[in-house]
């Protein structure tokens, strides 16, 4: 994980064949520039970045569901609960499950766990839109390779 550049996911662990669920992991680094301000002398992961990690987890699942033909953009965060501090060096297990896929949007329930213990959760809604003009899609596909996303199974050539 490199939270200072919003790389919150290290690895896609599993995607359920039914494309309803995903499991990802992200190791909170021992050092990052975000800890200079959050907080000086007491580094903890900002809650907004935990929500971002859950959003990115869900994002990989939505990309798999539409075979990288559209891009999910976070639209709504509901019922976000941040139950405990997350510290440098801790390895997060991130899970997301689709609650509903509508026309142009997806709603998902997502959680982060630490050694089996629930530490945060939220219900997230994404707009699912055509890729913007430019480099975004190839960049996202490159990131997919880095996080071991199974492109051969869940992306069109």
């Amino acid at each position: 994980m490199r939270p200072e550049v919003f790389k919150m996911i290290d690895r896609v662990v599993t995607i359920d064949p039914s494309l309803q669920k995903i499991h990802c992991q992200g190791l909170v680094p021992e050092e990052s520039s975000i800890f200079e301000g959050h907080f000086p002398g007491y580094p903890i992961m900002p809650g907004v970045l935990l929500i971002e990690a859950m959003a990115q987890t869900t994002g990989w699942l939505v990309l798999a569901r539409n075979r990288f033909n559209k891009m999910p953009f976070l639209a709504t965060v509901k019922e976000a609960k941040l139950r405990t501090f997350v510290l440098p060096g801790q390895n997060l297990d991130l899970y997301s499950e689709i609650l509903h896929e509508g026309s142009g949007f997806v709603v998902a329930k997502t959680q982060a766990m630490l050694e089996g213990k629930l530490i945060c959760s939220a219900e997230l809604t994404f707009r699912v839109l055509p890729w913007p003009e430019g480099k975004m899609k190839p960049v996202v596909m490159k990131v997919a390779e880095h996080v071991s996303f199974p492109l051969a199974d869940f992306a069109d050539a």
Partner: protein
């Protein structure tokens, strides 16, 4: 058993914090009730769940953008409810 309109109006009132008695069949969701696109996602989610359908929002938006339909056809509530009834009937057929 409540009507389609009652169900939709209750969803809008609850989702957008709009007084239920101000919502009528002739209300335009956008122009009269001030519902924005983000709130409409919540409404669509609730309608999809309540009726077991999938409102074709992308298709409707495309038709409006292409000038093939007006927003009134889809977002005046009596018309929205008629579309919902059509989708429910199509699903049951």
């Amino acid at each position: 058993m409540s009507s389609t309109f009652d169900t939709v109006a209750n969803i809008i009132a609850e989702t957008c914090d709009i007084p239920r008695d101000t919502i009528t069949p002739d209300s335009h969701a956008i122009d009269d009730l001030g519902i924005d696109s983000l709130d409409f996602l919540d409404i669509a989610f609730a309608i999809d769940k309540a009726f077991g359908i999938k409102l074709p929002l992308e298709q409707w938006t495309q038709e409006v953008n292409d000038g093939k339909a007006t927003t009134e056809q889809y977002f005046v509530l009596k018309n929205l409810c008629a579309r919902i009834d059509e989708l429910v009937a199509a699903k049951a057929a």
